[in-house]
Symmetry: C2
Subunit: 281 residues, 2 copies
């Protein structure tokens, strides 16, 4: 696989890492970055994440073979549409968003017929940090990337997207976009909310009384509030359902503790331990 031009829309942590990884792997002759801020683009060039930067998305995709949209989830669909209208018909567009159903809903019936195709991707990699300066050429190594084809997806284009992520070092699985959103609500979005909830009830003056458990459990709460609010809203119904299941589960804990039901408390903790042990350390 070799691309004449790879265009990355949004050169933050994920977009910057896509650029670094693609350039390290020698995947593209040119890597063009699109951003809204001149200095961010200059920094991404300096870091070696992109060859050149531009604020003009239409211009940046005009000669692209592959476009990877790495903007926040509430901007992805609009960026895909703009890209699809200016990219060559042979171009393939993918993204790196944490939610997939909302994009398909927003795109429904909007993509130009016989134009560039869109196939959703979600690399399960990231950090509570922001910006291309925190990007890493190995961010995707041994990480999972979920690609979310639909009934309309061209299988050849799907192979290109899968091969692209594999060449960045990732393992790829295919999944229905709505199943993806249901699962990620539980494995990613809910944990973020739960961690933020914990941090939110902790008085600053007690932070010196925290140890590794608090540190680990709340780490993701340092994430960007705007990015995460957009993720929750993009996956609203599934996150609400996951939150309700979680609140019911926590209510079981509370009831066992209040009722001094040691056996129920141990059973509740044991069920959790079995799941966590299955994941490994």
């Amino acid at each position: 696989m070799h691309l004449e031009q790879l265009t990355i829309v949004g050169v933050g942590l994920i977009g910057g890492s896509v650029g670094l990884a693609a350039k390290t792997a020698g995947l593209a002759t040119r890597v063009v970055g699109v951003g809204r801020d001149e200095r961010t683009l200059e920094r991404a060039v300096t870091l070696g994440a992109i060859d050149r930067g531009t604020k003009d998305l239409s211009e940046a995709v005009a000669d692209a073979d592959l476009v990877v949209v790495c903007t926040p989830v509430d901007r992805i669909a609009a960026d895909i549409l703009t890209a699809a209208r200016s990219a060559p018909p042979r171009a393939i567009i993918t993204d790196a968003g944490s939610t997939k159903g909302n994009i398909l809903r927003e795109l429904a019936g909007q993509l130009p017929p016989r134009g560039a195709m869109f196939i959703g991707s979600h690399p399960l990699a990231g950090s509570e940090k922001r910006g291309a300066a925190h990007g890493r050429a190995d961010l995707f190594r041994d990480r999972l990337v979920v690609v979310t084809p639909t009934a309309e997806t061209d299988l050849e284009a799907l192979s290109v997207v899968e091969l692209f992520w594999q060449r960045l070092g990732a393992r790829v699985v295919r999944m229905d976009p709505f199943e993806h959103d249901k699962a990620l609500a539980v494995t990613s979005h809910l944990p973020h909310a739960a961690a933020s909830g914990l941090a939110g009830v902790t008085p600053l003056e007690w932070l010196n009384l925290s140890a590794g458990g608090f540190r680990d459990t709340t780490r993701v709460a340092a994430g960007d509030p705007d990015l995460w609010a957009a993720i929750f809203e993009a996956n609203r119904d599934e996150v609400l359902a996951a939150t309700d299941a979680y609140l019911r589960r926590m209510a079981q804990f509370r009831a066992a503790l209040e009722g001094r039901d040691s056996a129920a408390l141990v059973a509740w903790l044991t069920e959790a331990k079995q799941v966590r042990d299955a994941l490994g350390s």
Copy 2:
């Protein structure tokens, strides 16, 4: 500071680490370990955590200068009482339990007058792992140990306990035992429950769709269910109060998301980020 004999009651992860650290620091001529299982004691001797092991607590403390009780929180008070009845009057007894108020309530009026004194300690160090085999001589290095004197505490004995932990590498703070329990309910016990709640609602087949966020947020859920049930029960009222505050906080999240109130959602996440950022990575 040099002790002729240090006795450690319970040679698991914490007790084993106390032994390794004390021996590394050359703090005691003899380190005697007390356990309920012959093989555990033999292993602790082999690991170099203790010089000899015994199942007889009374015998083990008869010549002790300092006794550190490292058993689960629901056994600490009973072990302190047994130790106090057999230890020399000059001996000092401390512990390593995660809760302090329950011990004082259980001990109230029970300690022999003019006998060995008890001063509570809580080293904020540990792991989801168990057993002396996971113990480390540096487990307490740069960690916080909360000591919880009361109005009756002898200040000279307090200095000995504080110096002991400092010599194991720890920083020491004094705190009222009931204030300690209130704070730790929020900074340690609630995070454990929240992490277990998350793991408990996650289907095993979705674990491959988890990344670093889930891994960190749920890590402590691998902890020992019996130990943690005992901690929750020992600090029942404070954990219930912390859980209620947490459930109210999570309900705010749910309401903001359901009501599509982006500003409230961002504010909720921002408050959490400010707390987590204050802790540092």
